[in-house]
Amino acid sequence: MLRRAHWTARAALAAALCLSPAFAPAAEAPRLSGELDAKGLADAIGKQKGKVVLVNFWATWCVPCRQEFPDLVRLEKAYRGRGLAVIGVSTDLAKDLPAVEKFLAGTRPDFPNYRKKSGGDDQNFIESVDGKWGGELPYSVVYARDGKKARVLSGMQSYADFEKAVSALLK
């Protein structure tokens, strides 16, 4: 009787340990959601209609991009319940794909990230996003719930900057 109770307790402990986060299989690292061109980006934004959408353009070689990215990960977690959607677009070249995947695995964004499709002239892509954008990175564009462009953020932003840009639109 005692022995059965002992094994039952051990089994319960083992089950509890298996169910605990420490023993759960590690969540798969976030990966690129694919590649897109100007039309693909417009479609991705269009699918989020009704939400405030922040599109962030970044690259692994861009130090300020890497510095601000964790704030975007935090922002998306904090505001997704209020209707914020974040889309990341890496402008890295195809040869830097391993660096892109490594960066995403390290920063673990819960939002989709795409790589700008290779080929063609970058100027066309840049102008399709914003006519006043010169191509400097990082660069973020915020779209209101009606899909209209509401704010552009050139250069590295702080969490407070991002929050300020989206919070008014989320009301």
């Binding site: 130090v63 300020p64 970058d122 100027q123 840049i126 400097e136």
Partner: protein
């Protein structure tokens, strides 16, 4: 009270106007804002003087740490030599607050830059031109007008595969009296780190 309110409004309008000017930079065909800076070799540089002494002046905002700018180091070096033969002065400007003059000197030395390089303390010239990224080019003609603004070419990755040598085409067109077909171009680049 009315005088105070009027004064406040005038100051606000002036600030708004100044802000607009800074945000836009010179358009193609507009006068290039004059400036004076000290080169990394200690010599004084005046854009107005350079315009008078050359057929054109190529201003390129560059960086020591930006991969996009560094990808063009060899191309810039070669272009500066080629342009010099045509009476065109090639000038690099470093406006990054994060890159001190000693670092700019070391970078220029290690890459064998023979062209003039200016340090822009407080990014005043970058603000005058509303330059945002590196590399970013402005061509100023003999009359002090901006004739080209944009990239060096479309392929930062591979100089051998360039299909649109925009800066070279613009200089050639300018020197031959032709219209510059692509006077404004864009490319990805590193943000200028302002103070």
């Amino acid at each position: 009270m009315k005088v105070l309110r009027l004064a406040f409004c005038l100051v606000a309008l002036a600030a708004a106007a100044a802000g607009t000017a800074l945000a836009d930079g010179p358009a193609i065909g507009a006068a290039a804002p004059n400036f004076q800076l000290t080169a990394i070799d200690g010599k004084s540089f005046s854009l107005a003087d350079a315009e008078k002494q050359n057929n054109a002046v190529v201003l390129v905002f560059i960086a020591t740490k930006c991969p996009y700018s560094n990808a063009y180091n060899d191309r810039m070096k070669q272009m500066a030599e080629d342009f010099a033969k045509k009476g065109v002065l090639f000038v690099g400007i470093n406006s990054n607050s994060t890159e001190p003059v000693e670092e700019v000197k070391e970078h220029a030395k290690s890459h064998g830059f023979g062209f003039t390089i200016l340090k822009d303390p407080g990014n005043k010239v970058a603000d005058l031109y509303d330059a945002k990224r590196t590399p970013e080019v402005f061509i100023v003609d003999k009359d002090g007008k901006v004739r080209y603004h944009g990239r060096i070419d479309e392929n930062y990755e591979d100089a051998a595969k360039v299909t649109s040598p925009d800066l070279k085409n613009a200089v050639d067109a300018l020197l031959s009296g032709q219209a510059i077909s692509k006077a404004e171009t864009k490319a990805f680049g590193c943000t200028i780190k302002r103070a």
